[in-house]
């Protein structure tokens, strides 16, 4: 059987987090009653004109710099003409041949180490509205249109066809999301549609230089579906070729439930968008001073954070895990502000916190335990108020209720017993009750002391200060 190589390129639409739309003053706030976040300009009513939101350009430049792009000195907006009821003007204002950014790259961790994925271009455009059907699109007796999203600013980031596997595609998308979040230009909330991916896939026999015919899988909104869809599509194409078939250039959709891609439209039906420069908007001349000012305003990016974390004593692995998501990394940094022990904080975030988050499928930004609360709890361990072991119980309670660690400890009576005389009494009790173990210890079986400690902790419901227990026990047995 012939061995095949896959070629994957990705187009990602990212919603920029400006307060107002790209060409008017309407709010970009998510949700709202249908058609309440609109004005004559974003509705494209007769006679009104677009005026470019400067913040959009700044964010696009920022994204471009974060992705190592060249920022154009001269750029312009074009009209992409097509009919659809959710597109008020029946053209979308976008950028065609002179996008604001080009020639960038992103470094991605792959099975074979670091790999550089090229970024062809980034351009700015306006979003369209959304159709609401009663039932399904084919059987609905009528359709309603909500224009709240119309004119929400987007950037489209187009990669080079540099990825060779579904895993790489996923890694690229994940890394890109993280970089965009770090740059602070988008929330990248996939469930709200503020990050959407189209994946282009082709395959060709290994050894042949030429790429195969590609298909485009539209509108995926999770990293998992990107990987699954690409995997499916690679296999599907190989199968077609193996059976002597031919791949046709087409647009496909990913059916999440069935786990397959389905044809949407073939190239024969492809749109002629009749792009031309939008005469309502003047060309964009971007001053170099502005680009430099934006560059200087770029926040710390993941690579820089990784370096800083390693410097502070974390392993490369830990640093990479913590920085994979900006929210996690921000959480970590917040903790350090009041409790400067990176290793300890890292252990808790990567351990108990992520375990609990995973168990209820929650994002860290929705977590009820705020960084300062985790830090307070860690301080209570250091001061001996609670033991490390009890902290696990305290933390779980904090996670479920959002209560402060002090409150939890007080309510549950979990304060560590550090009173020597109180512990000494229990130690005496346990020694008296376990002569066999005492003898074993005295005969050189060091392990036996572990059993005794366990018994003491059990008797104190884990509240005894472990250091003190060890010290007292050894004193009494020697």
């Amino acid at each position: 059987m012939t061995r095949y190589e896959a070629v994957i390129g990705i187009e990602i639409h990212v919603e920029l987090k400006t307060n107002t739309k790209i060409f008017c003053h309407s709010t970009t706030e998510f949700g709202g009653d249908p058609n309440t976040h609109v004005c004559p300009v974003c509705l494209g009513l007769p006679g009104v004109l677009p005026v470019l939101n400067k913040q959009v350009v700044e964010y696009a430049i920022k994204a471009g710099l974060a992705l190592n792009c060249e920022i154009a000195e001269y750029s312009k907006f074009d009209r992409k003409n097509y009919y659809y009821p959710d597109l008020p003007k029946n053209y979308q204002i976008s950028q065609y041949d002179l996008p604001i950014c080009k020639n960038g790259y992103l470094e991605v961790e792959t099975g074979q180490g670091k790999k550089r994925i090229g970024i062809t271009r980034i351009h700015m455009e306006e979003d369209a509205g959304k159709l609401v059907h009663q039932g399904t699109i084919t059987t609905s007796p009528y359709s309603l249109v909500d224009y709240n999203r119309t004119g929400v600013p987007l950037i489209e980031i187009v990669s080079e066809p540099d990825m060779r596997s579904a895993e790489e595609a996923r890694a690229y998308a994940e890394k890109l999301r993280s970089v965009i979040q770090y740059a602070g230009v988008s929330d990248c909330r996939m469930e709200e549609g503020s990050l959407r991916c189209d994946v282009n896939v082709s395959v060709h026999p290994v050894g042949t230089g030429e790429f195969g015919t590609r298909t485009e899988i539209k509108n995926m909104n999770s990293f998992r579906s990107i990987q699954k869809a690409a995997e499916y599509e690679i296999e599907r194409q190989i199968e077609v070729l193996e059976n002597g078939g031919r791949i046709i250039q087409e647009t496909r959709t990913w059916d999440e439930n069935k786990g397959i891609t389905v044809s949407m439209r073939t190239k024969e039906e492809a749109q002629d968008y009749r792009y031309f420069p939008d005469p309502d908007l003047v060309p964009l001349v971007i001053e170099r001073e502005w680009v430099e000012a934006v560059r200087n305003s770029l926040p710390e990016m993941p690579e820089q954070r990784v370096a800083r974390y390693i410097e502070s004593g974390l392993s490369e692995y830990e640093a990479n895990v913590l920085t994979a998501s900006k929210e996690v990394s921000d959480y970590f940094d917040q903790c350090l502000k009041t409790y400067n022990n990176p290793k300890m904080v890292s252990n808790w975030i990567m351990g108990d916190l992520s375990r609990l988050l995973n168990s209820v499928n929650m994002e860290i930004c929705d977590c009820r335990v705020k960084p300062a609360q985790l830090a307070d709890m860690l301080k209570m361990i250091d001061s001996g108020t609670i033991s490390g072991k009890i902290a696990k119980t305290v933390f779980e309670e904090m996670f479920n209720t959002g209560k402060d660690p002090e409150t939890v400890v007080k309510e549950k009576g979990l304060v560590q017993i550090s009173d020597e005389s109180a512990i000494a009494a229990v130690v005496d009790e346990i020694i008296a009750a376990n002569p066999k173990s005492v003898e074993d210890f005295r005969n050189g079986k060091d392990k036996a002391i572990g059993f005794l400690v366990g018994q003491i902790m059990k008797a104190t419901k884990g509240k005894a200060n472990p250091q003190l227990v060890n010290k007292l026990l050894k004193d009494k047995l020697s």
Binding site: P40, L43, G44, L45, P46, G47, V48, L49, P50, V51, L52, R79, N81, Y83, P85, P88, K89, N90, Y91, S143, V145, D272, R274, Y275, F276, P279, D280, L281, V282
Partner: protein, 485 residues
């Protein structure tokens, strides 16, 4: 002399002296309109109640001893492609027959700030496409000088109301000559300002890179007054120019001694009717007599203006008019089978022949595989035409030519021959392609029909055009002749 026959500056003087009230002026104009509208058909919508309220407000201000602006209380008509809040704006198209904008065009805001009185919305060629106002979906406006003849277009209604005494000043829009050509055929003053001098916000777009709003008036002084009111930077229009606005009345100087006029020989060529040329030659003689220096010059790419225009304008129009689809406002077809059927039938029913013709032309010119050959090439030629004009203006203060090749033609004469109709704008198109200011003013008669003279100037040099026009007007009396109605 009746109030409806007077100019804005004459009426202003009477208002300030309290010899007449704004209500009386408005009544005079509306009475005239009542008498004439059945004959002329210039208005699509009249806004009488609103107008009377506005006039009363001006009178109250005068009574209170407050100062008023030069346009306060002056009755103004507005072309029906300029959006007026709460007043329907149809573009003379069936597709917008019921469209009432919830906003004002910036020029309307400015007129309201000046307390001008809005009389109503004037007839036009549908979506400003045409040169005779015969393409209105509602009715044809007739030329006050001869009601068997056209007013020109597309701002025919706005030109006719000035000639007929149905308004004192009016606004039109000029994409390829749509102010100057009807001004010429109706014997009034019409100006297309520099592209960017007047905000396009609220002007229903035909071809965005060419469209410009401008005034129609009875004389040159009124033209300056209107420019003072409507020019200026507008943050709502990205193509609006951030330049200072001079007081245009300061250019009303009766002196052109030593100033230089270029007469492009291409504009006096065989396409121009001999009698029109004769009138323009006489006007040139007048300028020489008044001390201007006149020279023949060349604009070598003039022949390409028409084809260039008929690529660029329809291309932009095909995109600008895509929004009229029946989804949100305006006409929608009844009981469509599906969404595509709805789009197609709505547009088939809503648009007239000329609009459809241009949408098809533009769609074709922008299509994949044709873009480079047509649209891109047209943009390049547009640059050459601009360079021709730049070179000429390095030498001359104004360029002088006929505004139109002929006087007003008969209704129906050219309507079945698009190319013949397109040729009516042959002298005016270049100014739109280059974005320069140009105006037309009465410069003679052929029989009882007016001849228009076109003056073109450097960008933002409207003042120079006003100066030449004012000097000509002060030394001739063509503008004083009135049509017999």
């Amino acid at each position: 002399m009746q109030l409806y026959q007077m100019t804005a500056h004459e009426l202003h003087r009477l208002l300030v002296k309290k010899e007449v009230s704004a209500v009386e002026i408005a009544k005079s104009v509306y009475d005239r309109t009542d008498d004439l509208e059945r004959k002329i058909n210039a208005y699509i919508t009249l806004t009488k109640e609103k107008a009377m309220r506005q006039a009363e407000a001006v009178d109250a201000k005068i009574a209170a001893g407050e100062a008023i602006a030069p346009l306060s209380g002056i009755p103004v008509a507005v072309k029906d492609n300029i959006c007026t809040k709460d007043v329907r704006t149809t573009c003379a198209s069936k597709i917008l027959h019921n469209f009432v904008p919830p906003y004002n065009a910036t020029v309307m805001e400015k007129l309201e700030a000046n307390q001008a009185v809005l009389l109503g919305k004037t007839n036009m060629d549908e979506f400003a496409m045409g040169s005779s106002t015969e393409n209105s979906a509602y009715f044809v406006t007739k030329n006050p000088w001869n009601i068997e003849r056209v007013t020109g277009g597309s701002s025919g209604g706005s030109a006719a109301v000035i000639a007929a005494g149905e308004a004192v000043c009016s606004l039109g829009s000029d994409t390829g000559g749509s102010i100057r050509q009807p001004a010429a055929l109706c014997g009034v003053v019409g100006m297309k300002p520099t592209y960017g001098a007047v905000s396009r916000y609220g002007l229903v777009a035909f071809a965005s890179s060419l469209d410009q709003i401008g005034p129609f008036t009875r004389d040159v002084a009124d033209c300056a007054i209107m420019l003072n009111a409507i020019c200026g930077y507008d943050p709502k229009d990205s193509t609006s120019a951030k330049v200072g606005v001079p007081d245009y009345t300061s250019f009303l100087i009766n002196d052109v001694k030593g100033l230089k006029i270029g007469v492009p020989k291409e504009y006096m060529a065989e396409g121009i009717e001999p009698e029109v040329r004769k009138a323009i030659e006489a006007a040139i003689e007048k300028f020489i007599e008044l001390g201007a220096e006149v020279e023949e010059t060349v604009l070598p790419h003039t022949d390409y203006a028409l084809p260039t225009y008929y690529i660029i304008a329809p291309a932009e129009a095909s995109s600008n008019l895509a929004r009229y689809d029946g989804v949100r406002y305006g006409h929608r077809t009844e009981e469509p089978e599906n969404i595509v059927d709805m789009f197609m039938r709505t547009r088939s029913e809503g648009f007239g022949e000329e609009v459809k013709r241009r949408i098809m032309l533009g769609t074709y010119a922008l299509s994949a595989g044709y873009y480079d050959a047509y649209y891109l090439k047209a943009l390049k030629v547009r640059t050459l035409i601009m360079q021709d004009l730049e070179r000429a203006f390095a030498k001359y203060d104004v360029l002088l030519s006929p505004t139109t090749p002929s006087v007003a033609f008969k209704m129906g004469e050219k309507i079945d021959s698009p190319i013949q109709m397109y040729l009516s704008d042959i002298c005016t198109l270049s100014a739109n392609l280059a974005g320069i200011p140009a105006m037309s003013l009465p410069a003679g008669f052929v029989g009882n029909l007016p001849v228009g003279m076109q003056l073109m100037g450097k960008p933002f040099d409207e003042g120079m055009l006003l100066r030449f026009a004012y000097t000509f007007e002060q030394n001739t009396d063509f503008h004083k002749r009135l049509p017999l109605l």
